[in-house]
Amino acid sequence: MEEKHFRRRIAVTGVIVFVVAVLISLKVIFISFDSRITVNKNDSRLIKRGYIKDSNGDYIAISVPGFSVFANPEEIESYDKTAAALSSILSESKNVITEKISRKKKFIWLKRNISKYEAESIRSAKIKGIYILEEDVRKYPYANLFSHITGFCSLENNGIEGLEYSYNDVLNGQDKNNSSSGLFDKYGSSIVLSIDRYIQNRAYRALENSVTSKNAKSGTITVIEVKTGRILAIAKYPSFDPNNFSLSSEDERRFFAITDSFEPGSVMKAFSASAWIENTKNIKQRFNCTGAVKIGDTTINCTGTHGNLGIEEAIRYSCNSFITQSVGTIEGKKIYEIMKRFGFGEISGSGISGESGGILRPVNEWSGLSKYSISIGQEVSVTILQLASAYSAIANNGVYLSPRIIDRIEDNEGNTIRTFENNDSKRILSEANALKMKEMLKDVIEKGTGRKAKLKYFTAGGKTGTAQKFIQKSYVKNVNFSVFAGFAPVENSDICITVVIDEPKGITSASEIAAPIFSEIADDILLYRKNNVKKVTQDKIKKASEKSFSNYDKLPDFSGKTESETLDILSDIQKNYNIQYILKGKGKSFSQTPPPGSSLDHGLIIIIEFR
């Protein structure tokens, strides 16, 4: 070989290499100035959406990596074979898949948010034109329990309903100007709720039981912390699974406590009575109940014939006659004012989206009958949340606090960036009168219509209401809302619980339907709250002592375990580590993320699939 020749050829190669290097560099620069390339900072897939946590810090909405399957129909060789293979893996109808993959498109989603097992099956099946995309998926570990509160997200991780919707910008970090540094474009903030997972669960289970056994349309319970206005639970049954919200019906998704108002009936008597004792000159005044009162041309029937009675008995037995006669002695304006002060007729500002304000018409729109109707809970429509807050105000010795569901907002590192506190507490009833009301409401449970609401360990006060539904211009018998609003303990009240069962079948009276639910859950919740403070410290001591002989310092292998065995292990791990888990499917554990032997860290999210 001639060396000159060789050198020249190497030199030529060198020039080519250099030219290619320059070309690639120019291409890199060109890409940076290519206007077709749009970098969308708000692309929700680049955002680590914040969590929604309960007041204990448990995650009730999280974003985890998930899988979606899409097709490029142009690449598919056999529609029939492809659809057959996919339909068995995805358990979808073959016809639906065939229809999708035979469209004249280059891209079509086949199924979003599939399981890891399904994704792996599709990958290993190696079907031409079928692809798997990994993308963040919103998950709700407690499924139906918080669904009305959290709402849910679109597949693009934007909130559609509930707090996911109303706090979408906060959760996606778009309320902040600075795009935060880190692995994602933006880290959303997390929302910490006042909701307590335990109390929510207790309320939900009670509703589930009652609504099913009474064959009712639905049921709602709200629990409010009297001294702060914090909503500790707001449960509705039937509920839906936000992980599969598309499978739910509109009725299931409806957040009755917030979005709907209803005529509450007798529970309103606590407020008309408050109006009367605030304004009357003689609180000892007695009226006669003959079983009915005639107002103009209209006769208002009473629940019984109570004879000559004072305010205490009137509340105790829910006497329509006394209430209507008593409000007859004061101005309608006074009734309106007190109702307004209790928060009726306007939205409470709880921060939950879609809140209704109810209907409380101003005095100048009242008919001659209105004052009397409103005083017994007709011609006025309220939301369950308004009712709960109003009773809470009585329990709080006459100081109204607007209800709220969010305690604070945290950044992605867990630092509090905003807290929500009640600055707008207002006295709406003199303390003396509030205490009088509380005593009367206590009597309702001790001696009156609310006897079935009696607690084992605590004193309680409350009021029943069996509100007939106004359907097509008339009230219908036995189509009722069964309502109980109460608080406990009577002195130094801690919680206020409102129970509403919509259309129970058979016995419909609130004394028999709603009151027992109050009794069923209030004891448990109060005991839990009493012990919780102690328990937390005890738990900490226990944790510290257990740490040295912990069963698990690494993630165990769950394969082949049943769901309950898995749960046992997970709760064992949770004694030492603040982990979260998501269980999918049914049967025996088949796959887990992260794999066995992974180190256990606080905040770790474990996903286990069963099949």
């Binding site: 070989m1 030529v12 290097a21 560099s25 890199v28 940076s32 970098v39 031409k128 993320t593």
Partner: protein, 386 residues
């Protein structure tokens, strides 16, 4: 031959220190980028964000161990080892198709699973083929005729096809480019090369058109934006990565395109992660480092003491450089996707070790330089060639 005594071809030099330093810089940068690109994936899949990083660090250490050994191993000894290399290569390529031995991943049989790690033999076969080509084409007495090309080209052609069938399109294409480059530098007439190219056009058409996904890749390449949610998704995500990076980049570790957007962010598309996190600046620095690598390799070829050394040096240098530029061209959308790792940077033991073997051999060649005095050298250059 009597003049040979005037030339000292004993190993009398230190290896090319600039080349070695370049390798250090690229490899160090590489492991940092592997960590950045893989941490999320690693923690999601393995629950250990350092999973890929730790392994890559081990490969780098092993690689530099291999470099240390090979720079001490006289490259002329490969001349007699060539047939063993070829035999092993064929055996390995055939064995891949024996069930239970070959390990299939992502729709191809390219791996041997050795239990603790998987070996991708095509990477090593590429080096064996290059040594073989360098041997046959540096043989002095041979005339560089079209016929003379045929036997070695047939041998490499079969290897090429076997690698292609795995399918490992990227390695096959690298091998093809290197073969053509070896033919070119070893003095074959350009006319022959053009003839060869014309012959291979229909073959290439078949190779690409017969395999549907390769054809789709070409469509994706030609029109990425129209297919940006389909087959063009990955390349457009790569563009977005560079666009986001701008001039200085978003900062190491701070890129977002590696999360569920770029395919294989820690292997084939790591250059896009570099583009996003280190910007145009970082990308151009990496390109420059490979140019530097090429320049040192070219210098080693110039200074080599015999034809085998010359051809081998330039072939190994080109193998690394071509692979690097192919990878970068894919990632920047200059050519369709081929699936090829970025040498010394992408995650993966086989690629790292095979490229470091190439570098080790280069360093050994660099140790043998002619140390005749300048006056003698300038008088008669031809003296070293009989």
């Amino acid at each position: 031959m009597e003049f040979k005594s005037l030339i000292d071809t004993r190993r009398s030099h230190a290896p090319d220190i600039i080349l070695l330093l370049t390798l250090f810089v690229i490899a160090f940068f590489g492991v940092s980028m592997v960590f950045s690109a893989s941490a999320i994936k690693a923690s999601v899949i393995y629950g250990d964000s350092l999973y890929f990083f730790k392994r890559q660090v081990i490969w780098v250490f092993i690689s530099f161990g291999i470099i240390f050994l090979l720079q001490n191993f006289d490259y002329r000894k490969y001349l007699s080892l060539t047939k063993f290399f070829l035999l092993f290569s064929f055996a390995a390529l055939v064995a891949l198709y024996i069930p239970g031995i070959g390990h299939s991943a992502k729709g191809s049989v390219r791996w041997f699973n050795l239990g603790f790690f998987s070996v991708q033999p095509s990477e090593f076969i590429k080096i064996a083929s290059i040594i073989y080509l360098a041997k046959v084409f540096s043989a002095k007495h041979e005339e560089k005729t079209f016929l003379k090309m045929t036997v070695p080209l047939a041998v490499v052609g079969i290897i090429f096809l076997l690698v292609l069938l795995q399918p490992d399109f990227g390695t096959a294409v690298t091998l093809l480019f290197v073969s053509v480059a070896v033919l070119f530098v070893s003095g074959f007439s350009s006319l022959y090369l053009i003839l060869l190219a014309l012959v291979s056009v229909p073959a290439f058409y078949l190779i690409i058109y017969q395999v549907n996904y390769r054809w789709m890749r070409i469509i994706a390449f030609l029109n990425p934006w129209e297919n940006r949610y389909g087959i063009g998704y990955h390349i457009t995500q790569s563009f977005i990565a560079f666009k986001k990076g701008g001039f200085f980049g978003e900062g190491l570790g701070l890129g977002t395109q590696k999360i569920g957007k770029l395919p294989e962010p820690h292997t084939d598309f790591i250059f896009a992660v570099i583009g996003e996190e280190a910007g145009i600046l970082g990308a151009v620095i990496i390109i420059s480092l490979f140019v530097l690598f090429f320049w040192r390799g070219m210098k080693i070829a110039f200074d080599a003491v015999d034809d085998f050394g010359r051809v081998l040096a330039i072939a190994l240098t080109l193998s690394v450089t071509i692979q690097a530029f192919l990878n970068m061209s894919v990632v920047t959308g200059l050519i369709p996707t081929t699936g090829i790792p970025l040498p010394f940077i992408s995650y993966g033991g086989s690629s790292m070790i095979s490229n470091m073997i190439a570098a080790g051999i280069l360093l050994n060649i660099s140790k043998y330089r002619e140390t005749v005095n300048e006056t003698f050298k300038s008088n008669d250059k031809e003296v070293w060639h009989e």
